[in-house]
């Protein structure tokens, strides 16, 4: 039987990272993945990632996937694709479907990195064609390049719902509403804000009452829920849609771990059964590791670090890496992982409502309830200062682990500091030159350049734009505020598309001066 030092199941962010890390230490490594392409969910992730340089922040998911794959291949990792791991048996043996045959392989160590699958919820009509997971919609549009539908309603305001909602807009779909039964937006405020400013209404404390249609979805009714999650009669609203996307969380895909007989337990109420793992991801079975979402749902950035931690641990366990080297490497990786575990959205804060930032600023309730910051509260935050001349407006108001803006500014206008979750502070004395690097660097599309008075009663606003078609210089369109309401006419004065901005275009428009601190989106067509 073919034997490897390490078998990795799943070629997603954690699996590839684990494989690359182990192979770099001399292990003979094979990765098996059921899909035709490696990368797991990374190639569906077309947005820029959060984090710091070590977390590959401000790179888009698919670029991280390409990089990881290249690294794994350079390290000599064998990647088996279209390879369904049917079972994990005694003695760390796997049975894999390869084409028209099955094959048996054994690993001295095995890392399970099978990720997660989407949770679902039931409502009348939920089995109709047109109701699908948000991940399904993402696969359809970003991998298969086919629109999942024309008019879509998104259920779920966690990061998946928000990110996929935005990507639906980028694919040219209409997003009629973003709905969540919870009273607060679950995902990052910056993700919500970039959806809200395009005019998508948020319905918090709402759920789907029913999907309509006989053969396919033709409409949806939502209703407001009371404190017991019951729909309040008379609160129903109806939308014409052909697609309903469900983004109500993920569950770890633990089947192989269960088959192997690993111990599983519920770490927190309602979190589902997860493998009981050591600090380095080793399960109750010696030499069998779990890394990434399969060991607990987090972001791709943490999955990559968990993969590397398991990979270097396997190398240490099998005697390929010296103990001191393993310890040192683990320290680096763990520090990086801990940084991601800080902030308001940290795993430890799940289910809690955080009302103040670590610096003591009130978290915007508008942002939590409607998806956008109110005009009057914006200057409360340290990234926003109303000053003369061109200056960045950093609408980043929650403690999330992210700092590329700090490094992007050649004039050091922006400071996050040593703690990666600290809100960025704008220093008006540093002398902004309006280069726009910060706009492109911000994964949350939360930075704008504003000159509140350029004369003639006008203000100039530069926004990040990731939509097609790009406006033409001189084109007049509608200026939308943070809530997505049309507040006036805006004339485009500059469109900057720079390769290093990585598909984030900088669109500058002028608006009446009083709208300079309000206009945050430009829409084609008349201002009606």
């Amino acid at each position: 039987m073919t034997r490897y030092d390490l078998i990795v199941v799943g070629a997603g962010p954690s699996g590839l990272s684990a494989a690359a890390e182990a192979a770099a230490n001399g292990l003979k490594v094979a990765v098996f993945d059921e899909n035709a392409r490696p990368g797991g969910q990374l190639f569906k992730q077309i947005h820029k990632f959060f984090g710091s340089k070590e977390h590959k922040a401000k790179l888009r998911g698919y670029d991280i996937g390409t990089e990881l794959l290249k690294e794994a291949q350079e390290q000599g990792v064998e990647v088996y694709l279209n390879a369904v791991v049917a079972g994990l048996y005694a003695d760390k043996e796997i049975v894999v479907r390869l084409g028209e045959k099955v094959a048996h392989f054994k690993g001295d160590t095995v890392i399970i990195a099978t990720g997660a699958s989407e949770n679902m919820l039931t409502f009348e009509g939920w089995t109709l064609p047109g109701v699908m997971g948000a991940g399904a919609a993402q696969t359809m549009m970003n991998i298969n390049r086919v629109k999942p539908g024309e008019r879509v309603l998104m259920l779920g305001s966690g990061n998946v719902g928000l990110v996929v909602g935005f990507q639906l807009l980028q694919a040219g779909c209409e997003l009629v509403a973003l709905v969540d039964a919870a009273p607060r937006v679950g995902g990052y405020g910056v993700h919500a804000a970039k959806v809200a400013r395009t005019g998508v209404p948020f319905y918090l404390s709402h759920t789907i009452v029913k999907a309509e249609g006989t053969d396919r979805v033709t409409g949806v009714t939502i209703g407001e829920v009371d404190s017991k999650w019951q729909v309040i009669p008379g609160s129903e609203k109806r939308f014409d849609v052909d697609t309903i996307c469900i983004a109500v969380g993920l569950s770890s895909s633990t089947q192989l771990l269960k088959m192997a007989g690993c111990e599983l337990a519920e770490r927190a109420a309602g979190a589902g059964y997860l493998p009981v793992c050591s600090d380095v991801g080793e399960t109750s079975i010696s030499g069998l590791y779990a890394a990434g979402d399969v060991s607990g749902i987090e972001e791709a950035s943490s999955a990559m670090l968990e993969g590397r931690i398991a990979g270097i641990s396997a190398a240490g366990k099998l005697g390929f890496a010296a103990q001191e080297a393993v310890t040192a490497r683990l320290a680096t990786l763990t520090t990086a992982l801990e940084a991601l575990h800080e902030g308001m959205f940290a795993p430890k804060n799940r289910g809690k409502s955080v009302d103040k930032t670590e610096e003591g600023y009130d978290v915007s309730t508008n942002l939590l309830k409607k998806g956008y910051l109110a005009d009057e509260e914006i200057t409360k935050y340290p990234g926003v200062k109303s000053v003369s001349g061109i200056h960045p407006v950093i609408e980043c108001t929650q403690n999330i682990p992210c700092n590329p803006c700090q490094d992007s500014c050649p004039k050091k206008c922006i400071t996050v500091g040593g703690n990666i979750v600290t809100l960025p502070v704008f220093d008006e004395k540093a002398g902004c030159i309006g280069c726009g690097q910060c706009i492109a660097a911000c994964s949350g599309q939360a930075i704008f350049l504003v000159n509140e008075d350029i004369g003639d009663g006008l203000a100039a606003v530069t926004i990040p734009s990731e939509f097609l078609p790009l406006p033409e210089k001189g084109e007049r369109g509608a200026a939308l505020d943070r809530a997505g309401n049309v507040i006036g006419t805006a004339e485009v004065t500059d469109v900057k598309s720079v390769k290093s901005f990585d598909h984030t275009n900088l669109v500058t428009f002028t608006v009446p001066k009083e709208l300079g601190m309000r206009a945050r989106f430009w829409r084609k067509g008349a201002a009606i």
Binding site: T127, L128, P129, M132, G135, A136, K147, G172, R216
Partner: protein, 104 residues
């Protein structure tokens, strides 16, 4: 329904066009794309009717796990169309119930 220009992903790459049939009618799609994608692009969303209640089903998870999108492909029932690549000359048929009446 196809996304030809995308603000991030750019223009879609050139792919070989293949012909397939769906319930007897001829369609085209791209070689190697999931059958489900070709169907979606052609506006077909009903993949099967269930056994007990004869209710319509379509793409639900799109990653080969939920098995809701199965159809009769080249005579074989229960083929997951969201992960099965399209090939020239495929016959793709709406599945009724368990399908497979014609397996022999």
């Amino acid at each position: 329904m196809r996304i030809t220009e995308h603000p991030i992903l750019g223009a879609s790459e050139e792919r070989r066009t293949v012909t397939f049939t769906h319930d007897g009618a001829a369609y085209t799609g791209f070689e190697g794309e999931p059958i489900a994608a070709a169907l979606k692009a052609a506006g077909i969303v009903i993949h099967r009717y269930t056994k007990k209640y004869h209710s319509p089903r379509g793409v639900f998870c799109a990653i080969g796990r939920c098995t809701d999108c199965v159809m009769v492909v080249n005579g074989q029932p229960n083929v997951r169309t969201c992960v099965t690549p399209l090939a020239e000359g495929m016959t793709v048929d709406t599945q009724h119930g368990a399908g497979g009446e014609d397996r022999q």
